[in-house]
């Protein structure tokens, strides 16, 4: 167990810290000629952290001998019977030195079984440090940085701005000198990719190369910073940190919509939102007083994590998981601390106790979103986001609704109109009730289907009188004892009809109303005339239809046809004096002088609802408007946001980090670790206060961590190479003065991001050539000290964007919902729940959006991008890896995205330069892709390749035709297939060149 454990511990840790360490040591020995005291922060603490803190560090539970070496008191204070573990200036008397040099395996530190032995040089340097007075420093990253003064250096073209002073000073210490400035072709391509993620156009290259203004380069940087592409480029990196995805991660990994948050990030960067505001709105936008929709959307940063919908899951287990994720992400991103280590126990290396972890956790623990969320869309809290056209349409609809409502009020008929209507009613006087004969039934009659049963005349439906002693069509009449005014069950076979007949004896010619119901279809005939008919599919009930019966004096013949489509069947019949409801009828049959208030009300409301024609039409208009409003509201985009509970839940330390083991004896209130500055006095005790604390100008971490991350984007690696770990086991800054200067300057500038980036990109350091000289490889193989510009492979997204841009296919729409470009079949269903979820590819211009907009399903992300090191984004990732694999070669050679881009690019080269030679076209292609024309070697090699492929395709025309069909984009007419195919080989070759995949 221990051996295995160690096996994995030693490799990576040793390599990382080991290699750095040797370097630092060399630097120290070189520069100090051993008179200068050894730096505690640079040299001693990393050794102690690696070898001693596990047992003599912050974790109370694993601490041995009650000795703590991560704090000043522990090193220099009394320990047991000893005066101190370290006595400055007295190596021989210091227990620390005695123990690390001890011969006895029982006494030597670290104990052999920990397998963390110190090397001889490590022991010596510790002794040297003690002997020279043991100067102590607090951990550098926890101390508020002071702005270092600029080193005084002899002027040189390299020294463009303060950055270069610090870099040059360091290089001088190390015996290195800066590289010369890169040529303009390299610079423009580098700056384009770094600031926009896209290549410069040949026109931009030409303009820049010919620009004689001495500030041409600065102008270029300003232009790129102002480009909207800048926001997209910056957002891509932030999406990794914010674990952005279009799916919910756990279990079903269903769809969600968080792209409005992504749009917010793009806009924030393009508007150069100050980083403190950027921070506050994303961590606590919802808590800002009178928060705008945009600020609430920003708070969705902490809704991007994975959520579950699994049937048997326990809500609280996942709810806690989400809070744990928010703590981790927030602390990794803003503090550069692995606070997540303290979920189950005190931090092993950094001064964060488990209790402090839960103080931090308490800020997020009052969030109102539940553990069980949806697999289909967004879970509350959320905001609705109206597009401009939706807002416009809604305004239109609502103002029309107001007009209609006003008309309804204004034009409402007066009392006289209503009285006039009542006076005109025939029903005013009660009529003698006609006599109803018994029901006779004929049928059922079968039909092929319900429609036929409804339409077919099975007997003489339209005969004016019916003799029930004779068959009706094929069936005889039978008398039935069916009750009126109650639904009657008929028990008809499916797809059949039945006829019901009765006589009505009226004393006078008068109008009566039949109230009807049916299951399913119904027709009514009176004296041979069809009065009503409707072919429904329904269950029977009273008053489903009404029909006016104009009765003649004497015998009337009433014939009902009831149709059954399937299942139950039945009918309802009641003869009413009037079509008016009974209460209305009762009222109108009174004299107006007898009307009480209720009568008036009943009459009026009946009149308005049923008789007033204009009112009916106005109400129809209103209904249409309401349904329009609803359909817009239903299509309104939502975005998940943070929101706190109305009555906040209490927080407790979770024993061993387990959701079901709160230590109820002590409630934990929100707070920040004691090793970091206190909260601002007026900070509210919620996330807003936490965010304000983070962006307090005196905070030692936030600005450094942010500046370091920006540095990494443009210089390949951070000044602190462990970009997410500024704790005691993180890497030591390769140039702390520079880091501190940048951090302080950043805060002083009002957290001005574009200004900071401009400073970096206009520095002499950035402008250096990336050529790796031999002495670089020896003295600084990893380029930690920047005697050259880094050279690195583009991120996967930019590799695809580059191909799209070169081919001319790129769709430059910014923002909006994610899209589904080409992807091999069966990537989704192979892993999806039930195995039935298939990727539905988009068509047309959605195939060519920038790659950051590709739908990101986190259980099965786009395979080409994953091959190029895009993280799945299930968790916060601050620094992507950069690998170099054969599978990447397969993507850029064979993925239809790249093959299509190659052939469309080839087509455009041929069509846009109709009279050009091969070499002219090739030069143009190289300027497009590398910002410089092809040299002799490239010309010769690729012309040979072209000629051989042209000959090949001329004799293999079918192959040519197959190749130029790749992808959906239309093939130009009148283009020679062999020529296009041969050119496609050339453009595909170019897309696979190191110099095209790489930012020089």
């Amino acid at each position: 167990m221990i051996e295995n454990h160690n096996l994995f511990r030693m490799g990576p840790v040793r390599l990382v810290f080991g290699s750095l360490w040797i370097f630092v040591l060399l630097a120290n020995l070189n520069s100090a000629s051993s008179a200068e005291p050894v730096s505690y922060n640079d040299v001693i603490r990393p050794i102690l952290a690696d070898h001693c803190f596990q047992c003599h560090g912050p974790d109370e539970k694993t601490r041995k001998a009650d000795l703590r070496l991560d704090q000043k008191e522990g090193l220099f204070g009394a320990h047991g019977s000893r005066e101190a573990t370290v006595i400055p200036g007295d190596a021989q008397g210091s227990e620390l030195v005695l123990r690390i040099f001890h011969d006895d395996p029982e006494d030597i530190m670290p104990p052999p079984e920990t397998k963390k032995p110190l090397t001889d040089s490590q022991k010596s340097i510790i002794r040297q440090w003690v002997q020279s007075g043991a100067p102590y420093q607090d951990h550098w990253a926890f101390m508020t940085p002071a702005k270092p003064t600029l080193p005084n250096l002899v002027a040189s073209p390299f020294l463009q701005n303060p950055i270069d002073h610090f870099i040059a000073e360091k290089l001088e210490e190390l015996g290195l000198s800066p590289s010369q400035e890169a040529d303009r072709s390299t610079l423009i391509r580098r700056a384009y990719f770094d600031l926009t993620g896209l290549p410069p156009t040949p026109q931009a290259v030409e303009r820049f190369l010919n620009d004689s203004d001495p500030r041409a380069y600065e102008a270029l940087i300003d232009e790129l910073l102002a480009s909207e592409r800048f926001g997209e480029r910056m957002t891509l990196a932030w999406m990794d940190a914010a674990r952005y995805g279009d799916s919910s991660v756990f279990h079903a990994d269903g769809v969600r919509h968080m792209w409005p948050w992504r749009d917010w990030v793009i806009q924030a960067h393009n508007n150069n939102m100050p980083f403190d505001q950027f921070t506050v709105e994303q961590l606590a936008g919802d808590l800002i007083p009178n928060a705008t929709t945009s600020q609430k959307i920003a708070s969705g940063f902490n809704r991007n994590h994975g959520t579950t919908d699994e049937g048997g899951a326990i809500d609280e287990e996942y709810r806690v998981e989400y809070i744990v994720d928010r703590v981790k992400t927030t602390s990794n991103v803003w503090l550069g601390l692995s606070m997540e280590c303290s979920q189950c126990h005190d931090h092993k290396y950094d001064p964060i106790s488990q209790k402090e972890y839960y103080q931090f956790y308490a800020y997020f623990n009052v969030a109102s979103d539940p553990g069980m969320q949806t697999r289909n869309g967004n879970t509350a809290p959320l905001v609705q986001i109206f597009s401009e056209s939706q807002t416009e349409q809604l305004q239109g609809i609502r103002s029309r609704m107001a007009t209609v409502q006003k008309s309804l009020q204004d034009r409402e008929p007066d009392a006289e109109t209503v009285s006039a209507w009542v006076n005109s009613l025939a029903d005013k006087e009660p009529k003698p009730r006609p006599g109803l004969g018994p029901w006779y039934q004929a049928g059922p009659y079968s039909a092929a289907n319900q429609t036929e049963a409804f339409n077919k005349r099975f007997g003489a439906e339209k005969s004016a009188s019916i003799d029930t002693s004779k068959p009706f069509g094929q069936q005889p009449w039978t008398q039935k004892d069916y009750a009126d005014a109650t639904p009657v069950n008929l028990e008809l076979p499916d797809n059949s009809a039945v006829y019901l007949h009765r006589t009505i004896q009226s004393l006078s010619q008068s109008q009566w109303t039949a109230s009807l119901g049916s299951d399913d279809g119904i027709k009514l005939f009176l004296n041979g005339k069809e009065i009503m008919g409707t072919n429904n599919s329904r269950a029977v009930g009273p008053d489903q239809d009404k029909a006016l019966l104009d009765l003649v004096e004497g015998t009337n013949h009433l014939l009902l046809k009831i149709v059954n489509g399937g299942g139950n069947s039945g009918f309802y019949f009641d003869l009413r004096e009037s079509p008016l409801p009974e209460n209305v009828l009762a009222a109108v049959q009174k004299s107006p002088t007898e009307w009480n208030q209720d009568d008036r009300k009943v009459i009026r409301s009946y009149y308005l609802d049923n008789i007033w024609e204009e009112g009916k039409s106005l109400r129809d208009q209103l209904r249409t408007l309401q349904s329009d409003e609803k359909s817009i509201m239903d299509s309104v985009v939502t975005s998940m946001v943070m929101g706190d509970q109305d009555s906040p839940r209490k927080t407790y330390v979770l024993d061993r980090g387990h959701y079901a083991s709160p230590k109820l004896e002590e409630e934990i209130l929100p707070g920040v670790p004691a090793a970091l500055p206190a909260l601002p006095m007026d900070a509210p005790a919620n996330r807003l206060g936490l965010a304000q604390w983070l962006v307090d100008p005196a905070h030692p971490l936030t600005a450094r961590v942010a500046v370091n991350r920006y540095w990494m984007m443009f210089f390949g690696d951070g000044l602190v190479s462990t970009v997410a770990d500024f704790g005691t086991r993180g890497a030591i800054p390769s140039n702390q003065k520079l880091l501190d200067w940048l951090a302080v300057d950043f805060v002083e500038s009002g957290w001005n991001v574009k200004r900071l980036i401009r400073l970096m990109l206009t520095s002499g350091t950035y402008r250096q050539s990336s050529h790796v000289a031999n002495h670089h490889r020896e003295l600084d193989p990893e380029n930690r000290y920047y005697a050259r510009s880094p050279r690195f492979r583009l991120e996967g997204e930019f590799i695809r964007d580059n191909a799209l841009a070169l081919s001319g296919l790129l769709n430059d729409k910014i923002g909006g919902p994610s899209v589904n470009p080409y992807q091999p079949p069966r990537i989704w269903n192979e892993v999806s729940l039930d195995g039935n979820l298939f990727y539905k590819r988009d068509d047309g211009e959605k195939l060519y959006r920038r790659t950051m907009y590709t739908y990101w399903k986190r259980s099965a992300p786009n395979p080409s991008m994953i091959t190029f090191d895009a993280p799945t984004r299930e968790k916060c990732v601050i620094q992507r890896q950069r690998t170099n694999t054969p599978l990447q070669a397969l993507v850029t050679m064979n993925d239809v995205t790249f093959v299509e881009a190659a052939r469309v690019w080839a087509q455009n080269l041929i069509l846009s330069m109709p009279d050009a030679s091969f070499r002219e076209r090739l030069d143009h292609a190289f300027v497009m892709s590398t910002a410089r024309p092809a040299d002799e070697l490239r010309q010769n090699l690729l012309e040979d390749l072209y000629q051989s492929q042209l000959a090949h395709f001329q004799t293999h025309l079918t192959s040519a035709e197959e190749l130029i069909k790749a992808g959906e984009y239309p093939l130009a007419k009148d283009i020679d297939p062999a020529e296009l195919a041969a050119w496609t080989i050339i453009t595909s070759t170019i897309l696979n060149l190191d110099e095209v995949l790489t930012r020089d």
Binding site: R9, G11, P824, E830, Q881, T883, M893, L945, D994
Partner: protein
Amino acid sequence: MDLPILNGHDLLNRRQMISLGARGFGALGLASILSPEILQGSMNPSEKRDRFGLLENPHFKPRAKRVIYIFFSGGPSHIDMFDYKPAMRKLHGMELPDSIRNGQRLTGMTSGQSSFPCVAPMFEFKRFGQMGTWVNSDLLPHIGSIVDDISIIKTVNTEAINHDPAITFINTGTQQLGHPSLGAWLNYGLGSPNRNLPGYIVMISKGRGQVQALYSRLWGSGFLPSKYQGVKFRSAGEPVLFLSDPAGIDRSSRRAMLDAVAEINRSKFQEVGDPEIETRIAQYEMAFRMQTSVPDLTDVASEPESIHSLYGPDAKKPGTFAYNCILARRMAERGVPFIQLFHRGWDQHGNLPSLIRNQCQDIDQPAAALVRDLKLRGMLDDTLVICGGEFGRTIYSQGSLTSDNHGRDIMVDASPCGWRVGVCAKGMNMEKPTTSPTTSCATQCISAISMQPSSISSE
């Protein structure tokens, strides 16, 4: 940036460092049984790293050269396959005793039930082999016939009660996301002897039962560089994504393109001196070689008829578990050190009695054939075949006994940290309803391992 390993290291923070040792495969001792051969002097550092991994020389004498990990996803019912519990007959229909449940939590699938009636074994078990190991003779006769070549471990368990956290835990060592999978760790630590194939290959087949989700994180590289993640081989179309040249580009055109790319890249290297360019040239060559070596590997049809019949009726159907088993053996022969087969469809609840029959039909003959085939070729001595799922099933019924709903739900015990390995070679105590107090009414993920107990190092 020719230092992918160093880049990787930079990304490991201490939490991650701590987590690797204690979990994942620390306790299983896999590292001890896998190992590269002797170091060869002539390789450049990057090649050496791919070949031998980070460790170069592990401090254990290696026993296995490769692993084939058969993963039954969905929660195969251990008590209906390998973990015979005849004593359950006495408890049939009775309420689940507290002494067995031991206060364990239940999933939301059954926690609302008012009653938890125990169910007696539904299938016939028999003793197989010289060791007399109990195996379900209805469903797994073929596995029964090779039982002397495997160990059945009944103490593997997980704390998770739902599929997603359990399957993530067992494949990456923690149910929290972002950690490398077992195969990625081995790939990173030990490298791969085959330069023409990935060091970690994943294949997926789908059974006829209820299918739970898989996630790319199960074979992902987590915080390690992505080159160490499992490469998914596909059952239809291209076996590896983007392997085939586009329609219209033949091998000679491809070769000519690559020659031009290499020459231009070499000239770039001369100019700028970036060693990453040399690596890229080598990787393009390997991609070209893979385009030949992979089709050769996946040419299952070239196997003799005797092999096809050994693996059973599905052996010739691409995408089946049987087909993948043959592929796994072909990969093992070619030196791929970590091969993982996912077979889906084991999420049986009320319909368990009928569905498990189909699933077992899918796997019984091929899985046994794989062990037998490896043994015939003398490869079983240094190939570790692991077989298991994310958890098993409860001994109580989901729903009421009077209905036909004899399904069993998942439920798991509380062992906080990783796999505990115990070996059950001869039958353990069959009288007790459970094999250990902690696995109680619920379940372990049974793992069958293709090695003798003596060759597995435990704690």
